[in-house]
């Protein structure tokens, strides 16, 4: 399934990466090269094979319902959360105005 430049632009838009026409043109070749190569997976007979869900046998652990038990995963650290924000505003993150 070769992809064209329109598809490249569509993927870039889905991924929210601005690309120029020149970049789209360059990527078309690269992506087709890679996709063409990975498509050899289609040869593999996977009848009755389940997709991998856990690489090492392990079950999902569940946490107790306790607030701020560990400061590393708890709240009440607004300063830390906002410390690297490009546009902090009165305790909020500022973003360009969104029209809904």
């Amino acid at each position: 399934m070769a992809i064209d430049q329109a598809t490249v632009r569509k993927i870039a838009s889905l991924a929210r990466i601005a690309i120029s026409d020149a970049e789209a043109a360059a990527m078309e070749g690269e992506l087709n090269g890679i996709l063409g190569w990975v498509e050899q997976l289609g040869e593999v007979d996977v009848t009755g094979v389940e997709p991998m869900t856990a690489v090492i046998p392990n079950t999902l652990r569940l946490r107790d319902d306790v607030v701020d038990a560990d400061p590393l995963t708890g709240g009440n650290r607004r300063d830390d959360v906002l410390a690297n924000a490009p546009a902090p505003q009165h305790g909020f993150f500022g973003v360009p105005k969104v029209i809904e």
Partner: protein
């Protein structure tokens, strides 16, 4: 049958409704982090590094969220999937810090179930109806955007980001706004019984995505629209009514309904297309590689089941079997607090039918007047049982009971104490009653004549007069008997 139909120029249309209800799971901490979930906190204070999607942060699920979703599934008699897993739903928005929502698409925790809405002739639901529930999955809530604080900026508050939600997806089984309203009310009731969601729609604990399509009765399903985040039963009904009408008009004027996301504006009571969310959504769902499959063991499931309370339908059936009227049973079971209060009253020894009548009329009336909830009723079930006991054993009449109840509300004193103090004990002393009857009959000789001449309706008059003379404290049954004898 009084089917809900929209009359168009080309005939009658049927509306088909499915609801996706997002219910916030009642927990202390968020679904994947230890930050608090309390409503109304300062912006971004209930945000962990995990919720802010800092680099390298990882989710670890909260057991209570899973437990409550499982219990909810059991309450709607749904299949519980012992093997489920979380998927990522990828899209970019400022209220979604990770760039994806952790949700469940391929293997939800809860499968097929259903609930029953009761018949409600007045509302246009001629008979009880089962509404299918396709699934319940667990997912993260998004943050909040504020648009009115700055001329060129929107503000992001992540306090809600990562709060646990159940998405409860119905089958497209509803056919009228009334059915949809009843469904949401019933669902809310069940969630509150289970304790998995507080059902507080004003605070956003419950909100519905309303899927509406129209068709000519018997035709295939039409194209549906989805109106997002509708946060009251009234609005859900309004959305359906308006959206169905809009679709019928659109189709009849030669247009076609497009599958789209719409937004409800309660101020103008209309929906509009949400163009901002419309652009070619391709969510690229895939299993969240930070989380392993969720496998539930039998002990966990057994605990979930054992911890379920008696649910509204079972409770209603029990009340009916105890002779309580259908109307009262509905009223008493709708809200979990009322049902719990009523059950405590029964446990304290009150007789079901009398207790149901008293609660639905006297108690609810008083609470209404006082503007209080049953959870902070000034009279406890034990106190009410005492009052009803005095009526049941003939100590006081129903009339006196009303007065005693008023005094109880005023003073907080017990019924027996009030009756004692105020000397309200009802008398069955035949001598005293006969004396008063004699006086009443003597003073109303003309009416006695008329009664004897066949005007039997006057009997009530004599009862009333005698009771009045006895200051309400005579046992009405004894009065009846003695009067009949005297008028013989």
């Amino acid at each position: 049958m009084t089917d809900y139909r929209i009359k168009g120029e080309t005939g009658e249309w049927e509306v088909v409704i499915g609801l996706e209800v997002h219910a916030q799971i009642t927990t202390n901490a968020k679904l994947f982090s230890g930050a608090a979930t309390a409503f109304g906190a300062e912006p971004n204070t209930q945000v962990s590094l995990v919720d802010a999607a800092m680099p390298g942060m990882l989710p670890v699920p909260n057991r209570e969220c899973i437990r409550q979703a499982v219990r909810t599934g059991m309450a709607i008699e749904a299949e519980i999937n012992k093997w489920s897993r979380f998927d990522r739903k990828n899209y970019f928005y400022a209220d979604l810090p990770q760039g994806y929502q952790i949700s469940q698409l391929y293997h939800p925790l809860v499968g097929e179930g259903s609930l029953t809405i009761e018949a409600d002739e007045k509302a246009g639901i001629p008979q009880a109806k089962r509404i299918g529930i396709e699934r319940i999955h667990v997912e993260q809530d998004a943050g909040k955007l504020m648009h009115d604080q700055h001329p060129t900026m929107s503000y992001v508050d992540l306090n809600r980001s990562g709060v646990a939600l159940m998405e409860i997806v119905s089958r497209p089984d509803m056919r009228s706004p009334a059915e949809a309203g009843a469904y949401v009310r019933k669902l809310r009731s069940i969630l509150r019984y289970v304790g998995s969601c507080d059902g507080n729609m004003e605070e956003g604990s419950m909100r519905a995505d309303v899927n509406v399509s129209v068709r000519k009765p018997g035709d295939e399903f039409g194209t549906r629209t989805e109106t997002k985040n509708v946060n009251s039963v009234r609005f859900v009904m309004a959305v359906i009514e308006g959206e169905a009408k809009r679709q019928v008009e659109l189709i009849e004027s030669g247009g076609t309904v497009v599958q789209e996301t719409r937004l409800y504006d309660p101020d103008r009571n209309e929906t509009r297309s949400m163009r901002s969310k419309e652009d070619a959504h391709d969510y690229r769902y895939f299993p969240d590689p930070d989380l392993l499959p969720l496998i539930l063991d039998d002990d966990f499931l057994a605990e979930c089941r054992a911890s379920l309370p008696e649910l509204p339908d079972a409770k209603r059936a029990r009340y009916l079997s105890e002779g309580i009227s259908a109307y009262n049973a509905d009223v008493l079971t709708a809200e979990v607090e009322a049902a719990r209060w009523f059950d405590t009253l029964l446990e304290a020894g009150a007789k079901p039918v009398a207790a149901a009548n008293w609660v639905t009329s006297e108690l609810f009336g008083a609470l209404n007047r006082l503007g209080r909830d049953i959870s902070d009723s000034p009279v406890s079930p034990a106190q009410a049982a005492e009052l009803l006991g005095l009526v049941a054993d003939g100590t006081i009449s129903g009339t006196i009971a009303k007065a005693v109840f008023e005094k109880m509300l005023e003073t907080g004193d017990g019924a027996a104490a009030i009756v004692e103090r105020e000397g309200l004990k009802q008398t069955s002393d035949t001598g005293a009653i006969e004396a008063e009857i004699a006086k009443v009959l003597a003073a109303n000789a003309d009416k006695v004549e008329q009664y004897k001449g066949g005007k039997e309706a006057l009997f009530g008059f004599f009862v009333g007069q005698t009771m009045k003379a006895m200051q309400g404290k005579a046992n009405p049954q004894v009065v009846n008997e003695l009067l009949k004898k005297a008028l013989g």
